[in-house]
C-alpha cells in the first residue's frame, strides 16, 4: 500500500488547506479580496502570454501558473504589497523552465516581460487598455536596456529564492492534461474536437478565481473537463457513473463543472470592470489602487 501511494505522488499535488484559502498575506495587508483575485488572474494570464512568447510548452506554463497561484495563498504566503505580481510571474516561469527539459535564460525572460509590461507595446488588455498596437511600436518602448537587465536579473533571482522558501522547496506540480488524454482513450473517445475542448477547459481553469488547481487533484480536473467537453461536443459517453472509475465522486465533479463553466463569465466581468485601466502588477500600483478604493469608500 505504501508502495502504491508512493507511485501516486506523480499523479497528485499538494493542496491548499482551508486555512490557506481563507487567509492570504495580501488580505492581512489590506488588499481587498476582489482586487487580489483580479491581480492573481491577470498574473496567470501574463505568465501564459510570456510562456507562449518564450516558446515554452504548455506543461511548463501550466506548472508555472500553479506555482504562481500557490505563492499568494495563506498567511505565510507572499503579499502583493511586498512582491510585485509581475516579478513573481517571471520568477515562477523561470524556475519551472529551469527544472524542465526546456530551460530558458534570465535575459530571455526579462526581454519578454519587458515587452508584455510595456504600456505602449503590450498586446495584453490589462496592461495596455487601448489594446494591441496596430502600428509596430517603437523599439525604445520595449527594448530592455543593459542597466535594466542587470537590475531585473537581480530581482528575478531574489524572487526565485523567495518563492522556493515560501513553498518549502516543493516544486512538484502534477498536471491533468495528459491524464485527461489517457482517460479519453480509456473511454473510447477519439474525436479531435473533444480532445481540443478538454485541453481548452483545462487551460482556462488555470485562470479560475476558484483556484481549482490548488484545491483539486488532477484526476478530478481531467474528469470534469472531459464531462464538459463531451457534453459540448455532443459525444455520448458510456452510461453509468463513469467518473467513479477515475476515482472522482459526483459531488466533486459537479463542483468542478460549475467552476470551469463560470471561468468564462468571470473573465468577461473582469474585462468589463477593468475596461479603461490597467490591472496593477507592481507594488506601488497596488498601493495606489488600495488607497484609491479606501478614499472612495470614505467619500461615500
Amino acid at each position: 500500500m505504501a508502495q502504491t501511494n508512493a507511485g501516486l505522488k506523480h499523479l497528485s499535488n499538494a493542496l491548499a488547506t482551508p486555512d490557506q484559502l481563507s487567509n492570504s498575506s495580501s488580505s492581512l495587508d489590506g488588499v481587498p479580496s476582489e482586487l487580489e483575485t483580479s491581480i492573481r488572474c491577470a498574473g496567470a494570464q501574463l505568465t501564459q502570454a510570456a510562456g507562449v512568447l518564450l516558446h515554452l510548452s504548455q506543461d511548463i506554463i501550466s506548472q508555472a501558473i500553479v506555482i504562481f497561484t500557490r505563492f499568494w495563498l495563506g498567511a505565510d504566503g507572499g503579499s502583493l504589497r511586498i512582491y510585485s505580481a509581475k516579478d513573481v510571474s517571471a520568477a515562477s516561469l523561470y524556475l519551472t523552465a529551469k527544472l524542465s527539459f526546456q530551460p530558458t535564460s534570465p535575459r530571455s525572460i526579462l526581454n519578454v516581460y519587458n515587452l508584455l509590461l510595456s504600456q505602449d507595446a503590450s498586446p495584453l488588455w490589462f496592461v495596455n487598455p487601448r489594446g494591441a498596437p496596430t502600428q509596430p511600436p517603437t523599439p525604445d518602448s520595449y527594448v530592455l536596456s543593459e542597466g535594466g537587465y542587470q537590475t531585473g536579473r537581480l530581482v528575478l533571482l531574489r524572487v526565485e529564492s523567495v518563492i522556493l522558501r515560501t513553498l518549502g522547496f516543493d516544486t512538484h506540480v502534477a498536471l491533468p492534461h495528459t491524464i485527461a488524454l489517457t482517460y479519453l482513450q480509456t473511454l473510447g473517445v477519439s474525436r479531435p474536437a473533444v480532445s481540443r475542448r478538454v485541453l481548452e477547459h483545462l487551460n482556462a481553469a488555470l485562470l479560475s478565481p476558484q483556484l481549482l488547481y490548488v484545491t483539486h487533484q488532477p484526476n478530478a480536473l481531467a474528469v470534469a473537463a472531459i464531462y464538459l467537453a463531451t457534453r459540448e461536443e455532443g459525444v455520448k459517453l458510456v452510461d453509468g457513473e463513469w467518473w467513479e472509475v477515475f476515482d472522482v465522486d459526483r459531488e466533486e465533479l459537479g463542483f468542478l463543472v460549475v467552476g470551469m463553466r463560470s471561468t468564462e463569465g468571470f473573465m468577461r466581468r473582469e474585462t468589463e470592470v477593468w475596461k479603461n485601466k490597467a490591472i496593477p502588477m507592481e507594488i506601488d500600483e497596488v498601493d495606489a489602487e488600495v488607497e484609491r478604493r479606501r478614499m472612495m469608500d470614505e467619500g461615500e
Partner: protein, 473 residues
C-alpha cells in the same frame, strides 16, 4: 473526503441541480426497467404454451417484441442482464474511491531549530553535519547546499536534488525530511535521516570483506532502491560506495542526489560530466551525449566488485587511464559485442589492438582470476553489469531477478547483520581517496584516447588484463 464534502456543500446550487437531474433520470430508468420486466413476464406467459413446440422459432418470436420495446423505452443498452447492474452499483456506492495522498506546502523553517553536533564530511555539493532536532530530540543529518557563484539563481542541481529526493520515497533511498533555511538568502539546508555509516568508510575499516550472503543483502537493497528510482524516471548519476549509507540494522540507503535528474522518453539533452570517474561507464568516457539508466547499472557493477574485494574495482588516474583499466578488465570492445561504439565522439582516437578472437560469450565473462571466490552465477551477473555495450547490461529489475540472489548462500536477513562503530557519529574526520564527482559547468574534456593501448601517458600500464596484450600490433 467527508470534510471536503461539507466544505463545498452549501455553496453549490448548480451541482445540486445536476445531481437532482441525475436522480430524476435514474428514477425514470428504473421505472422503464420495471415496466420492461412486467412486459417480459407477460410475454413469457403468453408464449408459455408454445414452448415445447419449437425452441428455435420460439426464441425468434420471443426476442422480437421486447427488443422493439426496449428501443421505445429510450434505453438503448438494456439486455435483461443489465437489470442487475443498478443494484450492484448501489452496493458499490459505499466502496471507497481511491484517495490520493494529500500533501501541503508551507514555508521553510529556520536552521536554528537544529543543534549542530559534529561535522561528517564535505561532498561535492555541500557540507554534511550531524544535528539534533531541538523540539523532538531526533538525530538528523544536515546538509548545507553550496550556492555560491551561481549566475543563474538557485542552482538547478540543488533544485533537482530536492525535487528528486522529495519524490523518491523508498525504504532504500535516504529520507529527506524537510528543507530549512539560514539567515542569508543562500543558506539552504537539507534535513535528512541520519545513518551511522557510509559503505566506503565501512569497507576501509573492515578487516575482511563482507560475506557472500551479506553482499547479496546489500546489493539487493541498493538495486531495489535504484529500480524504484528508475521506475520514477530518475537517474542517480553518481552511484558509488561513499554515497551508499548504512545503519546498524543492516539497512542501506542511496544518498547524495546532487547529480540526479529526471530523464524522459525521448531523452533530453544531458551532460556527460556525471558519475565519479572510478564508477563512470565506458559510453560516458567515450563521450556519448545520449545515455540512459545503463550508466547507473555500470556503477552498480563497480560497487558489486568493490564489495567483493573491498577495493574500488577500477581506480583510474584520469579519463584515459580509466578507459584502459576498463578494457584491461573486460577486454577491448569490438563490433560484435558493442556495435556502433566507433561512432562515439572520443572513440575516434582509440587505436585498438588487433584482437585475435574475442573472448567467448556476449558480453564476455570477466576473468575468473580477479574474483576467485565468486560463484558462476555471481560472475555472470557481474560480467553483464560491466558489459561495455550499455544495451547488454541488465535493467535494475532484471538484476533483482538474477539467479545469483537465489542460490546458496542466501541473502542474510538484515536483522542478522553485524554492527560496526560509527565514524560519522563521532568526532573523527575522514578522508577517502575516491576522486570527486565531476563539477558542473566544466567543459567536457577533449580526450585523446590514443594512449589507451600504448605507452600510456597516464602510466601504470603494467597491469595487464587476462584477455589480451597491450602491445600495439
Amino acid at each position: 473526503m467527508s470534510a471536503a464534502k461539507s466544505r463545498w456543500a452549501d455553496e453549490d446550487p448548480e451541482a445540486d441541480a445536476i445531481i437532482a437531474q441525475r436522480k430524476r433520470e435514474k428514477e425514470e430508468k428504473r421505472r422503464a426497467k420495471a415496466e420492461k420486466q412486467r412486459q417480459l413476464e407477460e410475454a413469457s406467459k403468453t408464449s408459455a404454451p408454445t414452448q415445447p413446440v419449437d425452441a428455435g422459432q420460439e426464441a425468434n418470436g420471443e426476442s422480437g417484441p421486447p427488443k422493439k420495446r426496449r428501443r421505445l423505452s429510450n434505453d438503448p443498452d438494456a439486455p435483461s442482464v443489465v437489470d442487475e447492474v443498478p443494484t450492484s452499483e448501489e452496493v458499490k456506492k459505499q466502496s471507497s474511491l481511491l484517495r490520493f495522498p494529500v500533501g501541503e506546502w508551507g514555508p521553510c523553517r529556520h536552521v536554528d531549530n537544529f543543534e549542530r553536533l559534529n561535522h561528517i564530511e564535505e561532498g561535492s555539493y555541500g557540507w554534511v553535519s550531524r544535528a539534533k532536532d531541538i523540539t523532538t530530540g531526533e538525530i538528523v543529518a544536515l546538509k548545507k547546499l553550496k550556492l555560491e557563484n551561481s549566475p543563474d539563481g538557485f542552482p538547478v542541481t540543488g533544485l533537482r536534488e530536492i525535487q528528486t529526493l522529495l519524490e523518491a520515497r523508498h525504504q532504500n533511498v535516504v529520507y529527506l525530511r524537510e528543507v530549512v533555511m539560514g539567515n542569508k538568502m543562500d543558506d539552504v539546508f537539507l534535513v535528512m535521516d541520519f545513518l551511522e555509516h557510509d559503505l566506503k568508510t565501512l569497507l576501509d575499516e573492515m578487516r575482511e570483506p563482507f560475506l557472500p550472503s551479506e553482499i547479496k543483502t546489500l546489493l539487493l537493497q541498493v538495486v531495489g532502491g535504484l529500480e524504484f528510482l528508475h521506475s520514477q524516471w530518475i537517474m542517480h548519476r553518481d552511484l558509488k560506495t561513499s554515497n551508499l549509507l548504512m545503519n546498524n540494522r543492516g539497512e542501506i540507503k542511496i544518498a547524495d542526489f546532487g547529480m540526479a535528474r529526471y530523464y524522459g522518453d525521448p531523452p533530453p539533452k544531458l551532460t556527460q560530466l556525471v558519475v565519479t570517474l572510478w564508477y563512470r561507464s565506458p559510453e560516458l568516457l567515450l563521450g556519448a551525449d545520449k545515455y540512459g539508466t545503463e550508466i547507473d547499472m555500470w556503477s552498480i557493477g563497480c560497487i558489486f566488485g568493490e564489495l567483493l574485494t573491498k577495493e574500488p574495482l577500477l581506480q583510474g588516474k584520469n579519463e584515459v587511464d580509466q578507459v584502459s583499466k576498463i578494457f584491461a578488465l573486460t577486454g577491448p570492445p569490438n563490433q560484435q559485442i558493442w556495435p556502433g561504439f566507433r561512432s562515439l565522439p572520443n572513440a575516434k582516437s582509440l587505436r585498438l589492438p588487433q584482437t585475435s578472437g574475442a573472448p567467448a560469450g556476449n558480453p564476455p565473462l570477466l576473468p575468473r582470476s580477479r574474483f576467485p571466490y565468486l560463484t558462476n552465477a555471481g560472475l555472470n551477473l557481474l560480467s553483464t553489469l560491466l558489459a561495455l555495450n550499455p544495451a547488454s547490461r541488465p535493467t535494475a529489475q532484471q538484476c533483482l531477478a538474477h539467479p545469483y540472489f537465489r542460490e546458496d548462500p542466501r541473502p542474510k536477513p538484515k536483522e542478522m547483520f553485524p554492527t560496526f562503530p560509527s565514524k560519522a557519529g563521532m568526532e573523527k574526520r575522514r578522508r577517502h581517496h575516491t576522486p570527486e564527482a565531476p563539477k558542473r559547468g566544466q567543459d567536457a574534456p577533449e580526450l585523446d584516447f590514443a594512449g589507451v593501448f600504448g605507452g600510456a601517458p597516464g602510466g601504470d600500464t603494467g597491469e595487464t588484463g587476462a584477455g589480451f596484450s597491450l602491445r600495439l600490433g
